[in-house]
């Protein structure tokens, strides 16, 4: 009993730390990505005390972003405007961040790890209805942004908050339909099972990843996910030319940092979901529980111990996730912003019918093929 609790706590801590670090690193990736696209160096003053550069070492930008930026942000003055709802103003950033972070609790980052006679599932919380949990938690996430805008007692902030929440619940429909199509395909709402079912190969070489079965859902989830994280081209809630900075106009210091972190955490979350549903999650191509079974006429086999398989899986998971994070950064710095009516039109007239159609087709195919 006690050991179970310890294992659970360790798993939760590991997942949380991983997520926080990836999220923190996103800021640096974002700056470097922007620089790459705009043909400049970007974030080039990030050496600690200048030591690194003096000794001819590369910049320590990433580390600096993870350590110095938070220190700077959290020691800034925390300003609450006059007439604001003080309690809600302080609560809102955390209401925004918390749901995103707890979503990661149900994300499987690997299959199983065997230590002695004990089998540990590499998932912080083993919830059977995990897909529903993800949708529920995302739904609650609207409140942080909405209330942040309202509690600031600022017109632009309120408009930003309204835009943000309208956008989020609109695209939640498309997101839900995308996830539902996957759920129908695999016949389960358990994320770990969905990952396991993506193991193995078709035709002897093609990994059974979800993208092959649900390409439309993938597009839906990607677009809706970017809209959900309120980033370009869907960043109207904070459209600086119209709304100053949208719902966090009146935020500064640590609380603003929390809002910013929420955005990045959402980017990571969307990448994680895409990885889970469409790119095999922790599956490594041709890697099975006992090692690699390479395709080909001779079928080379490389045996691996369980811990090596688990480590490879965890690495594969985060590499895939990181890839989609970078893809989102690329999108963010490439595309122009939509108009608000275009945004709503895309959500309701584009993605929603597409998602419904996809779901219906999926259902028919599943009945015709599987008859589950």
């Amino acid at each position: 009993m006690a050991i179970e609790l310890v294992i659970g706590a360790v798993k939760a801590l590991v997942v949380l730390l991983l997520v926080l670090n990836v999220t923190g690193s996103m800021l640096w990736f974002e700056r470097k990505g922007a620089a790459l696209i705009q043909d400049r160096i970007g974030a080039n003053r990030a050496a600690i005390f200048g030591v690194g550069r003096r000794m001819g070492l590369p910049n320590l930008g990433l580390i600096n972003t993870l350590i110095a930026d938070p220190i700077k942000l959290f020691t800034k003055e925390d300003f609450v405007p006059a007439g604001a709802d003080r309690v809600l103003h302080s609560l809102a950033p955390f209401l925004a961040l918390f749901p995103v972070l707890v979503t990661f609790a149900v994300v499987p980052i690997g299959d199983v790890l065997r230590i002695g006679s004990r089998t540990i599932t590499l998932q912080a919380a083993n919830l059977p209805a995990a897909a529903l949990y993800v949708l529920a938690v995302l739904g609650v996430g609207v409140y942080g942004v909405a209330l942040g805008g309202w509690a600031s007692n600022n017109r632009w902030a309120l408009l930003g908050g309204i835009r943000a929440s309208a956008q989020m619940i609109s695209y939640e429909m498309a997101m839900g339909l995308a996830i539902l199509a996957v759920v129908v395909t695999y016949g389960t709402v358990d994320l770990q099972t969905i990952c396991r079912m993506q193991g193995g190969v078709w035709f002897g070489w093609l990994p059974r990843w979800g993208i092959v079965l649900q390409p439309v859902s993938f597009i839906l989830l990607l677009v809706a996910g970017i809209a959900e994280s309120k980033r370009v081209p869907f960043d109207l809630p904070e459209g600086e030319s119209e709304l100053v900075a949208g719902y966090f106009t009146e935020y500064s210091g640590g609380k603003q940092a929390v809002f910013m972190m929420t955005d990045f955490a959402e980017v990571v979350l969307v990448s994680v979901l895409i990885t889970l549903f469409f790119f095999g999650g922790w599956q490594v191509p041709w890697l099975y529980a006992d090692g690699f079974h390479f395709p080909g006429p001779h079928g080379a086999f490389l045996a691996l111990p369980n811990y090596a398989v688990a480590i490879l899986q965890i690495i594969a998971f985060w590499v895939k996730t990181l890839f989609f994070c970078l893809l989102q950064i690329l999108v963010r710095w490439t595309l122009p912003r939509l108009r608000y009516d275009q945004l709503m039109g895309l959500g309701w007239k584009g993605l929603l019918p597409l998602g419904l159609l996809n779901l219906v087709v999926t259902a028919f195919v599943v009945v015709a093929v599987g008859g589950r």
Binding site: L88, G139, W150, I169
Partner: protein, 184 residues
Amino acid sequence: MPLWLFAFFAIIAVVSALGVILQRHPVHCLLALALALLDIGALFIGLGAEALGFLQIIIYVGAIMVLFLFVIWLLNLQREGLATERIGLKVIGTLAAAALGAELCALLVHAGPAPAAPLPVDYGSLRSLARLLFANYLVAFEVTSALLLAAMVGAIGLARRIPGTNAVAAPPSDVADRLRSAAG
């Protein structure tokens, strides 16, 4: 669900429900209600109705309450004054409600529980819920589609612009100056 957990959620539920009816600002009422609904969703899960609990949170907290929030903002509702009219009637009504509640509780406690029946293995799973919806309650399920369509048509019929005018209904001029004290 262990008793201490129930007590925890029950206290949150009652406190937030009281918040709904005691808070003066509509947004605060709404937040209290959202918390109560979230809490009720948690109680569902505690009762084994896992899928339903999440559905409750997705639909109620994630969608319906946000709709309320929009309307409160759209109408720019402010703090509400205390009731001034027919206060006696309202107090009597509330006392009656409280009496009803006391009676209800007394009776329910007195009723004595039937022994909890053994549960099927997949009790409360999405699969079992879906199976019932598409089999035993097929008609009811189909009726909900008509119900939702009717609600959509009704809401659009009520809220769309009056044809030929740019504005929605023009407010009577004598109430225009009451904008400030709207609903206050």
